[in-house]
C-alpha cells in the first residue's frame, strides 16, 4: 500500500499531505454531506485548498510559530486549516465549539491568538465579543457566510476571500509555499490542545509533528488501517481523540474522513457512510444501546422473542467467536442464523455493518455494554491515553479483550507504575511542554522522561493495565479504608437508569452519592408504569424513582462487599439531584467529566444534609442558559438511606 510508504518518508503533516496528493491524487480524502449529497474532496483538491488557505494566511502576515485558532463543528475546511497553519510552520489551536465566549477568552489570551478560522456566525459573534477585551485578535476567517453579509468588523473575511488572496500571493511569490513546507521540522510543535481543566485553568499541551505521527503510525500498524478505510468525524476537533483519529491517522494511513451534515444527523450519516473504523466515547455506545433497548421494548411480541432469544445466543458465544476461541457446532449454527435474523440487520440499522475496528476511551465502559457490542460481532476495543500522550498509551490487542482493562502498552510506549500506583509513560508521543507553563511541565515529566499521568492503575497477571481512578482522587475514609470515588461512580453509571453519579467520602465516616437519573431511560420506565411526570425535576423526586435507584445503589453495595478493601466504601446514603449536571454551570468539564470538588462546594447544603442524617433538604440553585442568561431552580430533595452488606471474601478469580 502506498500509504505505508508515505509514512516512512514524510515526517511532517504538510509533507504527508503532499505525498498523498502526488501518489494517489484522485482517491477521496475528505467528504461532507451538503445539500443532501456527499461532496468529496480528492487528495489533490485537498492539497490545493490547503495551499491557497496557507498562502492567504501568509498574505495576511501569519508567520512561522504563530498560533491559529480553529473553532467549529467537524468540517473539511477546518481540517484543512490545521494543515494550512502547519504548512507555514504555525501551530493549530483547535477550541471547543460549544464553549461560551468567556470560556474562550482564557485560551485566546493564553495562546496569544491573532488569527482564527471559524465555522460560522455563531463563532464569529463569540470572537467579536472576546475581541472587546482582547484586541490582539486581528483576523477572523469564516467558512460559512450565512448571516454575516452585513458584518463589517475589521479583519473579518470569508474563507473564499482568503483563498483568493492566497492564489494571488502564490502568483506573486512562486515557490514560497514549497519552501515553507520544506523548512518544517519534525520536532516543530504542530498542534496545541488544551486540557479540559478538570482542575484549575486549562493548559495548552504542545505536541510535535513527530509525536502525533509516531502515535498515528503505531495505531495504523497495530490495527492494519489502510487508505480505503472510512471514518466518520463527529467528536469535537479540540479533543485529542479526534485529532489522532481524524487528522494524524488520516494523514498517515490516507483513509477518508467523512464529516456529518449536522450534529443532529450523525446517526443517519453513520448509516449512509458505514465506516470501517469507528471511535466513540462510552456514552455514545451507551445511548445507542439504550435506544435499541427502548425500541425493542415497544416492538411486537414476535420480534421481541427473536431478539431476546438470539441475544442470549450472542451473549453465550458471540465474544468468543470474535476472539477466535473454539465454540460448539450448535452455537456456531445458531449464531449464523442469528446473524441473518438479528445481528446483521441490527448492525445495519446502527451503521456498524462494515466496522473492522471500533475504539472507545475517555471513560470506563460498562461490562454489559462492552459485551453487547462484541457479542453481535463488532470488534469494539478500549484504549488508554490522554492529551499529553496523543491518546496513545495502551491498546487492546485483537483476541485479548478484557472489559475491565485497557490493554497492553502500545508499540513504542514504555509504561510503568510509581510506588503510589500512578501510571507513568515514556515515548515519542509524550508532550513537548505545557504552553508557557514550565512549572507544570517540570511537575509532570520527571528527570527520566516519564510523564506522570495522574491515573492510578494496576497491571494484571497478563500485563494488561487496569485504571482504577485518578491518583489524586483516591482518598481514605476516616476509618483509614481506601476510597476510590470514580470506581464506585462508574459502577453506578453502568446502570442505564443512572446517567451521572458523584461520590463523596474522603475523611468522612462513610460514602454518600449524588445521582443524576437518565431522563430517556427512566422516563420510558415511568411511562410503562403509567407514572405521570412533567419533567426532569418532577421525575427525579418521585418515590418510585427513588426506589428504583435504591435498588441500583444496593446492588453496587453488594458488589463492593466482595471486593476486599473496597467493601468499606459501600454507599450509606444517596440523593437524586434536581438538575442535570451541566458544563455550562461549571459542574462538568466540556468533555463531561464531573468536577467533584466544585459540585461538593456548590451543593454543600445537600452534602451536610446527607451526613447530618436529614431526610429532606431544601436547595436553591442558580443555572446558566446557553445564551448566557441565568435563572434559578428551587427544590426540596429527599435524602435516602441504602442498605449495606457485610464484607464477603471472594476466592481469587
Amino acid at each position: 500500500m502506498s500509504a505505508t510508504s508515505a509514512s516512512v518518508t514524510a515526517d511532517t503533516f504538510p509533507r504527508l499531505l503532499r505525498q498523498h496528493a502526488s501518489q494517489r491524487p484522485d482517491a477521496p480524502a475528505l467528504r461532507e454531506k451538503y445539500l443532501g449529497i456527499w461532496q468529496t474532496w480528492s487528495w489533490r483538491e485537498t492539497a490545493a485548498e490547503v495551499r491557497a488557505m496557507a498562502l492567504g494566511l501568509a498574505a495576511l502576515g501569519f508567520k512561522r510559530g504563530d498560533n491559529l485558532a480553529i473553532i467549529g463543528d467537524n468540517r473539511p475546511q477546518l481540517y484543512m486549516a490545521f494543515a494550512a497553519a502547519q504548512s507555514l510552520g504555525g501551530v493549530a489551536v483547535p477550541m471547543y465549539q460549544d464553549a461560551v465566549a468567556v470560556e474562550m477568552t482564557f485560551v485566546l489570551e493564553n495562546a496569544a491568538i491573532r488569527f482564527a478560522i471559524v465555522e460560522d456566525q455563531e463563532q464569529v459573534d463569540k470572537l467579536l465579543e472576546a475581541r472587546d477585551t482582547l484586541p490582539q485578535i486581528e483576523h477572523i476567517i469564516f467558512a460559512d457566510p450565512r448571516g454575516l453579509r452585513n458584518y463589517n468588523a475589521p479583519g473579518l473575511m470569508s474563507l473564499e476571500a482568503l483563498r483568493a488572496k492566497g492564489d494571488a500571493f502564490d502568483a506573486a511569490n512562486p515557490g514560497f509555499f514549497d519552501a515553507e513546507v520544506a523548512r518544517g521540522q519534525a520536532n516543530d510543535v504542530s498542534v496545541m490542545l488544551y486540557t479540559s481543566g478538570t482542575t484549575g485553568k486549562p493548559k495548552g499541551v504542545c505536541q510535535t509533528h513527530h509525536a502525533f505521527i509516531t502515535a498515528a503510525q503505531g495505531g495504523v500498524q497495530f490495527d492494519h488501517l489502510v487508505g480505503t478505510d472510512n471514518v466518520l468525524s463527529y467528536l469535537p476537533m479540540a479533543w485529542v481523540g479526534d485529532h489522532l483519529f481524524s487528522y494524524a491517522q488520516f494523514l498517515v494511513a490516507g483513509f477518508t474522513v467523512n464529516c456529518p451534515e449536522s450534529a443532529e444527523t450523525v446517526m443517519t450519516d453513520l448509516r449512509e457512510i458505514g465506516p470501517t473504523y469507528y471511535f466513540a466515547p462510552p456514552r455514545v455506545f451507551e445511548s445507542v444501546l439504550t435506544n435499541v433497548t427502548i425500541r425493542m421494548e415497544d416492538a411486537s411480541r414476535l420480534k421481541r422473542w427473536l431478539y431476546d432469544g438470539f441475544m442470549a445466543v450472542a451473549k453465550r458465544c458471540g465474544a468468543d467467536m470474535l476472539d477466535g476461541r473454539p465454540v460448539g457446532t450448535r452455537d456456531k449454527l445458531l449464531y449464523a442464523l442469528g446473524n441473518v435474523l438479528v445481528y446483521g440487520p441490527l448492525k445495519n440499522t446502527l451503521g456498524m455493518s462494515r466496522i473492522r475496528v471500533a475504539y472507545t476511551a475517555g471513560a470506563a465502559i460498562g461490562p454489559d455494554l462492552f459485551r453487547f457490542y462484541r457479542s453481535i460481532g463488532i470488534n469494539l476495543k478500549q484504549l488508554y491515553g490522554s492529551t499529553e500522550t496523543c491518546a496513545y498509551v495502551c491498546l487492546q490487542p485483537d483476541g485479548q479483550i478484557k472489559f475491565d482493562s485497557v490493554g497492553t502498552a502500545a508499540p513504542g510506549v514504555e509504561v510503568k507504575l510509581a510506588d503510589n500506583g500512578e501510571v507513568m509513560v515514556r515515548g515519542a508521543m509524550v508532550l513537548k511542554e505545557y504552553y508557557k507553563r514550565p512549572d507544570a511541565t517540570a511537575e509532570s515529566i520527571d528527570a527520566n522522561g516519564y510523564f506522570h499521568t495522574g491515573d492510578a492503575g494496576v497491571f494484571d497477571s497478563e500485563g494488561h493495565l487496569r485504571i482504577i481512578d485518578r491518583a489524586k482522587d483516591v482518598g481514605h475514609l476516616s476509618t483509614g479504608a481506601m476510597f476510590a470515588p470514580n470506581y464506585i461512580e462508574n459502577k453506578l453509571k453502568f446502570f442505564s437508569h443512572i446517567k451521572e453519579a458523584v461520590c463523596f467520602g474522603h475523611d468522612k465516616d462513610n460514602v454518600t452519592a449524588f445521582i443524576n437519573i437518565d431522563l430517556t431511560a427512566v422516563g420510558n420506565w415511568a411511562e410503562r408504569r403509567n407514572l405521570v411526570y412533567s419533567g426532569y425535576i418532577d421525575l427525579a423526586g418521585k418515590d418510585e424513582v427513588y426506589a428504583l435507584i435504591k435498588e441500583c445503589v444496593e446492588s453496587v453495595n453488594a458488589e463492593l462487599a466482595t471486593e476486599g478493601e473496597l467493601s468499606h466504601s459501600q454507599i450509606a446514603r444517596f440523593l437524586i439531584l434536581h438538575k442535570e449536571l451541566d458544563p455550562d454551570d461549571d459542574e462538568m468539564t466540556r468533555t463531561r467529566k464531573v468536577r467533584r470538588g466544585f459540585v461538593a462546594e456548590k451543593y454543600g447544603v445537600l452534602l451536610d444534609g446527607l451526613y447530618g442524617g436529614k431526610t429532606v433538604q431544601h436547595i436553591d440553585t442558580k443555572v446558566k442558559f446557553e445564551d448566557g442568561r441565568s435563572g434559578s431552580i428551587a427544590a426540596n430533595l429527599k435524602l435516602s438511606d441504602a442498605k449495606r452488606f457485610p464484607a464477603v471474601t471472594k476466592a481469587a478469580a
Binding site: L35, G36, R146, N150, S262
Partner: protein, 261 residues
Amino acid sequence: MTDARKIGDVILKVDNISLRFGGVKALTDISFDVREHEIRAIIGPNGAGKSSMLNVINGVYTPQEGTITFHGEVRQDMDTHQAAENGIARTFQNIALFTGMTVLDNIMTGRNLKIKSTFIEQAFWFGRARREEIENRKKVEEIIDFLQLQSVRKTPVARLPYGIKKRVELARALAAEPTMLLLDEPMAGMNVEEKQDMCRFVLDTNDQFGTTIVLIEHDMGVVMDISDRVVVLDYGKKIGDGTPNEVRNNPDVIKAYLGAH
C-alpha cells in the same frame, strides 16, 4: 445591522380597506404601505383584524371598499393564485401542512408553481420533468440547509414537534422564492428557545434573500426587536403606524394594547 440593508420603494399599498362579514365590521378604513425589503409587523389585541388584513392582502377575502396596489398595479381584490404568481407566499396561524408526507415532500410542494413540465413528461420521467425535479430538489435542499432541517428531512411531518412544524411551513413558503412573505403568528405557542430560533430565521431570510416580510405577532418583544415598522390595529381600526419606538410611545397604542398588560 439594519444599516446595510437597503429598504426600497413602496411595493404594496392598501388604501381605505373596509371588510365586513354581515353586520360585523372586521376592518374599517385601513391604509398603510409596505416597502421593499422591510420587515413590517401588524399587531393588535385579539380580534383586532390582523389575520383578516393578511387574508385581504393575499386574496382570501375580498374587501367591500378600498384598493390594493401591488407593484404599481391597482386592484379591488387580490386573487390567491395571482398573489402566488406575483411572488407572495404565506404561512398560517394554525399549521397547514400535509401531515402524512415527509418534510422534504412538503417543501417540494412549495415548488409547485415552478414546474412547467407536462403530466405526460412527469408520468414517464423524461425531458423537462427530470431536469426540473433535480433543479427543484436543489433549491429545496438549499432551504433545508438554510433553516437547519437536515435531521428531519425524511421524517413525516406528523411526528415533528410544534416548533419544527412551524419551521417547515416557513420552508415551504420560501420554496416558492417569494418576494413578499406573509407570516401569520410565526412564533405563537413557542417556547423561548424556539422563538429565538424563529426570529433568527426570519431575520436571516430578510437579510439573505431580501424578502419583504409582513408578519402578525403577539409577542411584543419579538415585534419591537425585529420589525422596521409596525401597524397597530384595534377593533378593525388603525390606531398607530411607525417605527417600533414611535409606536411604543403612541398614547393610543399604550391605552389599547400595551396598557392592558
